[in-house]
């Protein structure tokens, strides 16, 4: 197995509150890892820590990505290197055109990779091809970034960004919450389209339904700032039946 990201003894706080308390997690390249755990366990904090969110202060431990420590890297650098987080609560940015934003992001990445920038027409073609698959209306191109988007539209827009930026490690923080059945199917389809045996997924969820669509390879249980159990997909049914309290720390 080849490890793309390794998290060791990670301790982190937000404000005065220590949230991650010696967390260990290894992500195997090309696999789908699901993280489940009770509210407030630290799942979003973990994802924020991986992408370098300003709220989080790392107190100890390390995160290595492709063999290099990333804890001191800027958020933009991590993104350019291929780490992507679909936010639990994407922020609204009035006045910033969605297509313009996405093209700027894509061209920043292309520049980083030594590729030529896409012009507006080329980009629009690319964006439109994805919009249709995600069942997104074409006015999403010209609207302000997430402004006034419904919960489902915001989540689809996160997936759109993922499809366009083609990251290597993809963290999806509750991508499924608040989605109706059609949206869940569209979003899952988008995710499955990105599965190519090389990209790695970290799917944070409370529900097994999305896991029916995207078939995880590993389930990790995160509780009180630590990963307390790692198992195969069969663990989902057990969790559904008995809850998190029944899980013993390994």
């Amino acid at each position: 197995m080849s490890t793309v990201m390794k998290i060791e003894n990670l301790e982190a706080k937000i404000g005065d509150k220590k949230i991650l308390k010696g967390l260990n997690l290894e992500l195997e390249a090309g696999k789908v890892h699901a993280i489940m755990g009770p509210n407030g366990a630290g799942k979003s904090t973990l994802s924020k820590t991986i992408v370098g969110h300003y709220d989080v202060e790392v107190l100890g431990g390390d995160i290595t990505y492709k063999g290099k420590s990333i804890v001191d890297m800027d958020a933009e650098e991590r993104a350019l290197e291929g780490i992507f987080l679909s936010f639990q609560h994407p922020v609204e940015i009035p006045g910033v055109n969605n297509a313009y934003f996405l093209r700027t992001a894509l061209n920043a990445k292309r520049k980083h990779e030594g590729k030529e920038a896409l012009n507006a027409a080329e980009f629009l073609r690319l964006m439109k091809s994805h919009l249709e698959m995600l069942g997104m209306k074409s006015d999403m191109i010209s609207r302000s970034l997430n402004e006034g988007f419904s919960g489902g539209e915001k989540k689809r827009n996160e997936i759109l960004q993922m499809l366009i930026l083609e990251p290597e490690v993809i963290i999806l923080d509750e991508i499924d919450s608040g989605l109706d059945i059609d949206a869940l199917r569209a979003v899952s389809e988008g995710i499955n389209k990105m599965k190519d045996g090389k990209r790695t997924f970290l799917v944070i969820t409370h529900y097994s339904r999305i896991l029916d669509y995207i078939e995880p390879d590993y389930i990790h249980v995160l509780k009180d700032g630590k990963v307390i159990k790692t198992a195969g997909p069969e663990l989902v049914a057990q969790l559904e039946e008995h809850g998190y309290d029944a899980i013993e720390e390994e």
Partner: protein
């Protein structure tokens, strides 16, 4: 001429200093208000005395024969061009507001007994270009604009300066917006080096059912203050606002009074301020609702982004209300760029500098997009991006 010599002088002395015999009422109004200084409310945040206390050269304003052009062009206070068929001429001013709060409004009229009168006729778009060519000079002129009932006009005001320095421009409008008409005035200033300072003092009368829109896009350097008084008749409406983008040590902004006189009159005033360097932005804006103005709606808002720890926004939205039957709101916020928004952009691989640009431009665009004509909207957007990019290389 050094205008500071008019400080603390009585009407008689002012008249003598300005070499004026008649027009006594104006002299008295000016002397009663006194030359503005730091303690004058509307000049409190503006170094007015420093600008007045300079020995400026003065000009003779001899009307020229007006060439035909695609816009009204005013060079150093004298009209040189005007569109075919438009009535632009010089005449003594007959309608001066005898209750203006600004001493420089009166000084402007005293120094310019002949005004430039522009009669806008019909539904049209008019551009006014102000050009300045003289250094170390006091350039002083007044403009009267009137339109006709039921007509809808848009005016674009632009500025150009030759390679000049240390000039003070004092000008202003007396506008008479006729019943049931609309007048939109969109002003753009982009000059970004210290060529001239400017104090403009306006008076806008908005007749029954008329609409006026006054938008000032000010991306200039050095010092400029627009002093504005608007009076609203019955069911009259004003939408006033400015977008400031200031850098270095410039000080610019608006000091205004919007007065609701007529019933059902409405006002909206929105200021957006982006301040960098040691710049100071000014929004000192009073909305007064008089006894006669029942069922008024007044809305006032100022939002500022400070991009530098030394930049400063003097934001003072104020409501003065003498009746109960009205809807009014006002607010003022000042802060940095939104961290969450910045982070969202950065988390997609956009650099901090680029993310900052995107957010600042977005903040500005919400006001710029109120200019409905797309060519002019694009022109203002481009002007903003140009000054902003020059200041934020990287």
């Amino acid at each position: 001429m050094n205008l500071i010599t008019l400080k603390n002088k009585n009407a008689e002395e002012v008249a003598t200093l300005l070499g004026i015999k008649e027009r006594n009422l104006l002299v008295e109004k000016f002397a009663a208000l006194g030359l503005p200084n730091k303690k004058t409310e509307e000049y409190h945040y503006f170094d007015v005395e420093k600008l007045l206390d300079v020995d400026y050269k003065t000009l003779n304003y001899v009307p020229k024969s007006i060439e035909e052009g695609d816009k009204v062009e005013i060079v150093d206070g004298v009209v040189t061009k005007a569109p075919k068929g438009m009535r632009v001429y010089s005449e003594p001013c007959e309608t001066i507001d005898m209750d203006h709060f600004d001493a420089l409004y009166y000084l402007g009229h005293l120094l310019s007994p002949h005004i430039i009168r522009i009669e806008v006729d019909g539904d049209c778009h008019v551009e006014i270009l102000h050009k300045y060519t003289q250094s170390e000079t006091l350039i002083n002129y007044r403009i009267v604009i009137s339109n006709q009932a039921n007509r809808h006009t848009t005016m674009y005001e632009n500025f150009e300066a030759e390679d000049i320095h240390d000039t003070l421009v004092l000008y202003g409008y007396d506008m008479h917006i006729a019943q049931d008409s609309t007048l939109r005035m969109v002003r753009l200033q982009t000059m970004n080096d210290n060529k001239y300072s400017m104090i403009t003092s306006h008076k806008v009368n908005v007749a029954k059912n008329a609409n006026v829109l006054l938008k000032n896009f000010d991306f200039g350097g050095d010092q400029a203050l627009q002093v504005l008084k608007v009076e609203l008749g019955e069911r009259a409406h004003v939408d006033a606002g400015h977008l400031l983008y200031l850098n270095d040590d410039s000080k610019r902004g608006t000091a205004s009074q919007i007065i609701h006189r007529g019933e059902h009159s409405t006002s909206k005033q929105e200021a957006k301020n982006i301040l960098d360097g040691q710049a100071r932005g000014i929004f000192d804006a009073l909305i007064r609702v008089e006894h006669s103005a029942k069922f008024t709606k007044a809305e006032q808002n100022s939002k500022s982004i400070l991009l530098h720890e030394k930049s400063y926004m003097a934001s003072k939205p104020q409501l003065e209300i003498y009746i109960d039957e009205l809807e009014a709101s006002h607010g003022s916020t000042t802060g940095q760029l939104d961290e969450k928004q910045l982070f969202y952009l950065q988390s997609r691989g956009i650099s901090y500098i680029e993310a900052r640009k995107i957010l600042v431009i977005a903040f500005a665009n919400t006001l710029i997009e109120q200019v409905k004509d797309s060519r002019h909207q694009d022109r203002i957007k481009a002007a903003f991006e140009e000054v902003f990019y020059v200041a934020n290389k990287g």
